[in-house]
Symmetry: C4
Subunit: 252 residues, 4 copies
């Protein structure tokens, strides 16, 4: 039986063999279907018209996921390590809401946690060169984490100051009903999102807003500069060939 188990382990947990890859692709397809189902169910008129169909599909998918979950526990060598791993918890959380929904009305919407199972797509992509691209992006972001932290801290201080000033200038009559709301406006403006649900009405407020916007224009350049510099630089660090003339690694 050990051999069957070993084979099943390769199919379910690994994606190196053709069968293992097929299993992951099929699983991903079911996950996508379940995510689409959650989305469709939230649309009012679809919920009304196809209630029974959605209900049945929902239970079929929950059944598949439950079977898969117990199969994983049975096959893996250290079941507890899997159960309390990141993917193990997600796998558990993606089936339990449907069962709870039988007893507790309203808990059903928690099923959306299934969306996180989509992260399994990285399992399949792991084999392709897409991971390398992803890893270099993550590396660039990770290498610039300190600069980005300082930058975000600075943006938060700035946004608190601006939000407070605008609250004092505009006042509650113009939609700036509190300092937190002023800060919300400052973030909406500085990030150039600009909903327009709150916008300055007084001349002084519009003048201040103009300054904030031009500042945001200059500030947006900073994270871009940080990340770009990190994407460009690491490729140099990887150059380990020493110039025989000057024995100096980073020739430039």
């Amino acid at each position: 039986m050990s051999r069957t188990r070993q084979k099943l382990y390769e199919i379910i947990f690994e994606a190196d063999t053709p069968t293992g890859k097929l299993f992951d692709v099929v699983l991903l397809f079911v996950i996508l279907l379940s995510v689409a189902l959650v989305m469709l169910e939230s649309v009012p008129f679809i919920r009304q018209d196809y209630r029974t169909h959605l209900h049945i599909l929902e239970w079929i998918i929950t059944g598949i996921f439950t079977a898969e979950y117990f199969l994983r526990i049975l096959i893996v060598r250290k079941p507890f390590q899997y159960i309390f791993s990141f993917y193990g918890i997600i796998d558990f959380l993606s089936v339990i809401p449907t069962y709870i929904g039988l007893f507790l009305v309203g808990s059903h919407s928690l099923v959306v946690i299934r969306i996180l199972r989509m992260l399994r797509i990285f399992r399949i992509l792991k084999l392709s060169r897409y991971t390398q691209a992803g890893r270099s992006l993550v590396r660039a972001l990770w290498a610039s984490r300190e600069k980005i932290s300082v930058f975000i801290f600075f943006v938060i201080v700035l946004v608190i100051v601006i939000g407070t000033v605008m609250y004092l200038i505009e006042g509650e009559a113009n939609g700036f009903t509190s300092i937190p709301r002023g800060i919300y406006w400052a973030i909406v403006t500085l990030t150039t999102v600009g909903y327009g649900d709150i916008s300055p009405q007084t001349s002084l407020g519009q003048f201040m807003a103009s300054i904030v916007m031009i500042m945001g224009y200059a500030i947006i350049a900073v994270p871009t500069g940080i990340v770009t510099a990190e994407i460009i630089n690491p490729s140099r660090r990887d150059n380990t060939q020493v110039c025989p003339q000057c024995l100096w690694h980073h020739h430039d």
Copy 2:
């Protein structure tokens, strides 16, 4: 006749000779006119007042395009290869809606497909150095396709999670009527477009939105960094001169 055909071929299909270039420029002008016509016709008050004029112009242009289409088929050595080529299909699709419009009311608006004929402008530009600029841009985008794919996949997962969370937080009363609409809001916010047709109303929703916006601020740096790095780097790869001292191509 072969010589006449050869000459006509050069004029119509190539843009190297002065006559060929002139033909392409005139054709481009007619295409631009036809596109402008489609646009003007969609404006209600122009449609009412100049119905006949637009109708006549429409048929003149369709006539020119039809004649050109048959001429191309007659002159080209392998007609079927042209007919089923990218440009051949566009040429066909840009004349047929007007004829169908005679029998089927409403099919007329399909004439907008003519806009795609504007791509012929690249034929003329091919001769100039603008193509080189365009090609280097396309090369930069193509070289970074993997990173951009990973990035866009990440953005899509992020947007689904955010959209679902906001749907649960804000609910249908505040415009987040379904998960797809929540995702639509998440995209509008993360890309810093910010229409304001849907915007968070609750304090918790506005707090979440603030985090999303600041994330979007940092995230927008990623594609910029990718493309910039690709535009800067390839010029180095083209340097094939070897430093005689260290026999190392990429000296930096």
Copy 3:
């Protein structure tokens, strides 16, 4: 008299001498005042309350500018060359609307052309190192003009196609009253401005809009990449020192 004329020429036309610089600074101050005046006059309640004051100030400034204009013509060696130069035409256009306003009601608002006189600020800045910064920016933009042209052409084609498709999807009932309006919406969306005066209402329209926004996200990286690459590269080209070992200019 030739010496007085020479001296006045230096003061008025050049900014190298202390007096010449002082003249330019004073002139710039008057120009800024006249621009502020035009702005203030456009504000309804200021126009009503300070009509006479603004009127008097207006005529004083017009008087100064007229005197300066005739002085320039008298002093310059080749008057006609000045009159038909870029600055000469601006100087003329910045005084004439006030005089025409005496006879023709409504022509007064043309006085805003005075704003262009603010470009004289570059005269004073010419002496400082700010010009170098400005010149390097202009050089970077100029060097990347071909890539930017190709990019903008591509954006225009894209925007026409998107605008037309959205006009067909959303229709006149949802604010997309014509193709040009659809194109306007596409530009507002792709550039991430997002007014929200027109926004998609149908599900299909919102889905299309989502794709456009994510495209805009990736597209905005292109001009940034172009300009950044141009700002970084030229500094290398200026390096004319040849490595004595490999006699190769662009060592990297």
Copy 4:
């Protein structure tokens, strides 16, 4: 006593010793609390329900800050230098509004100046490597101050011209009630914020707006390019190792 004073000085003014660092962390926590308090107090329903609680907390924090302020004056060697230093003035301004509030109603909201005390966080961060990240960002911004100044000056001139033109095109009926408001709109559009509180209604206005938006698209690339170039370049200047072959510092 001198030794006690020396020790207290180290605790309060320096952050090198563990006790000094603890003091700064506790102080920072109190500052964050006081900032949160100011925010909460601005929210209407919290202000009504917890008026007394907030009042007491307010006075406790003011008490702590006052004690700390006098302690600093007593302990520092040159008290006047501290009092008139940047942090000294902020420390004073962060306690005085509460006391004035006893006599003058309404002056209380000035207490928000306390937010600036959050800058003390940099004192603690000074010890960590985050300062290096922050300093390199500030250096990059400082090194590009001339280019950014020229850029912002250019944007301001552009925005005045666009604002005036749009005021003339759209007029007061469409929300462009004055030139300053037109300029406000131009800034909102060029920075891609796009509130939508003012948006062009006429066809000509929308056409002009489209051009402004595409311009803004290209313009946003400039500050990004400037800052990115400055972040990438300085690391090279720091390389002081000379290539022994060519005795040329900046080898690339």
